[in-house]
Amino acid sequence: MIDVYTLKRLALWGRLRSPWILHFNSGSCNACDIELLAAITPRFDVERFGIKVVPSPRHADILVVTGPVTRQAAPRLKRIYEQMPNPKYVMALGTCACSGGIFRGSYAVMGGVDKVIPVDIYVPGCPPRPEAIIDGIVKLLKKMEAETYGK
């Protein structure tokens, strides 16, 4: 007989062992995006750790946002965030996503993902190397672990 508590622990364990990622480009120059893609391809291969890029927000645990949020993309970003099931985590990938980067001050960008949705981890770099992206994910997993088991 499995009780609810054990099932919950099982779900948490599963989430930490295999976090699924949703990638959203909110106006990036594509360099961050191709580095994220490079991270899942054979040289870096994060898929062997169960990290998987999924197509739908409803399946995702981590939302990876690249790019300074443009005014056009901001409502979409918000909607995608709202569509994700709880608990959800957000990773701002690239200097643009962290602060607006080189595009800060333009009339068309909001400047940073945290202007629109809460961010859990920032990975700066223009673009960050795949190693940095993997490091960011690992740090985020630690944070998730502390949040779920810590208390």
Binding site: F24, S26, S28, C29, C32, T70, R76, C126, P127
Partner: protein, 390 residues
């Protein structure tokens, strides 16, 4: 909805969609399985870069132009530096021109391999995607070796290039090239012979030569439709007037032809890199930096991986541009592309889309006006409330 045929439904593709790594929206009107009309809706990546150019100095502009599109960043910096050099009336030294060509071609190889990988993925051939991307890392290593960065090369500067190569680097690069060539030849065979790939791409998304000319498409898309254009040969810049190379043209006019043009161009680019490194002139790599430009006007054209890229600069003197206009290849290709979908099934949409190799990060910088007018006319069409904005 015009036509009010009940059987016609709108299929919304994007802005967040796994087949598009960029947020763009396509509205396909479909009747059963067949696409009757396709409307791209661009503008999600508009970042107001042209305005930012006016606020920043010429030097900062290099880094800004690089970030118009991260994939073809070298094409953008070459074009930007050339246009500023034209206004300032300076000519980079020969060694710099050769190095520019080398990095430009490495960038093209990485861009084409990236696209071929993504194309394989869209065709449902995930293994090939992974394999191509694995070998693409070889190019990334070479770019890092020469420029110091993996993606954003920050290599070109006004009046030359920022880093020199030594004999050791050249030797290392020349050692990797045959390995790469062998792999690309293998992929060429796969694209040429694999029955699944051929079934999905041959005779799909046909763009006849006449239409290609009429819609002014550029780059591999034009060359896949038997239009023989290549800025590198037609209006040589950098060192292309001294480097021998072939322009790949195919006359099948379909998705397959466009992919094959890219595979063959990778092989050509490898030869260009090899030739340029073997015939590298000696001398300095850049001229002393000039900060301000005299009043004047200039254009510059380069062959970016996706086609012709044009910069138009107006200077009124001083250290910032008065106006910089950028015209990127995807904008030219996208208009023709919407036609390609008509008459094909929904399953063909991704294949056709990747064969254009759209790069919206480039495109969105230039279409503010279109987006605005498009917005006002399309609002009534955004009937699908689940996608409604604002």
């Amino acid at each position: 909805m015009e036509g009010s045929l009940t059987s016609i439904i709108n299929l919304i593709f994007g802005p967040q969609h796994p087949a598009l790594h960029e947020p763009e929206l396509f509205r396909f009107k479909v009747e059963g399985e067949i696409v009757v009309k396709a409307e791209p809706r661009i503008g999600y990546v508009h970042r107001g870069i042209e305005k930012l150019f006016e606020k920043n100095t010429y030097i900062k502009g290099i880094y800004l132009s690089e970030r118009i599109c991260g994939i073809c960043n070298v094409a953008h910096t070459v074009c930007y530096c050339q246009v500023v050099e034209n206004v300032m009336n300076i000519e980079p030294p020969p060694r710099a021109k050769y190095l520019r060509a080398v990095v430009h071609e490495l960038n093209r190889i990485h861009s084409h391999l990236l696209l071929l990988g993504v194309a394989a993925e869209e065709l449902g051939f995930d293994t090939l995607f992974m394999l191509i991307w694995r070998d693409r890392e070889l190019v990334m290593d070479l770019i890092e070796l020469i420029t110091g960065n993996r993606v954003m090369s920050a290599f070109n500067t006004i009046g030359g290039v920022r880093r020199d190569v030594n004999a050791e680097t050249i030797e290392k690069v020349l050692k990797v090239l045959p390995k790469l060539e062998e792999r690309v030849k293998y992929y060429r065979k796969v694209f040429e012979e694999d029955p699944t790939i051929r079934k999905r791409t041959v005779d799909v998304g046909i763009l006849p030569r006449r239409d290609a000319i009429r819609y002014c498409v550029v780059g591999p898309m034009a060359r896949g439709s038997a239009v023989d254009v290549d800025i590198r040969r037609d209006i040589p810049y950098a060192a292309y007037d001294e480097i021998p190379f072939n322009v790949i043209v195919r006359d099948e006019c379909d998705v397959w032809a466009r992919l094959m043009v890219r595979v063959d161009e990778v092989l050509e680019s490898i030869n260009i890199v090899r030739y340029a490194l073997e015939h590298l002139p000696s001398g300095q790599i850049r001229l002393p930096l000039k900060r301000s430009a005299p009043p004047g006007e200039a254009i510059s054209r380069v062959e970016a991986p996706r086609g012709e890229l044009l910069y138009h600069l107006v200077s009124k003197g001083g250290i910032t541009p008065y106006r910089l206009k950028v015209r990127t290849p995807t904008l030219a290709n996208l208009l023709a592309a919407s036609k390609l979908f008509e008459g094909h099934t929904i399953a063909d949409i991704p294949a056709i889309l990747v064969s254009i190799d759209p790069c919206f990060a480039c495109t969105d910088r230039v279409t503010l006006v279109d987006v605005k007018s498009g917005k006002s006319t399309k609002v009534s069409l955004r009937e699908l409330a689940r996608r409604g904005r604002e």
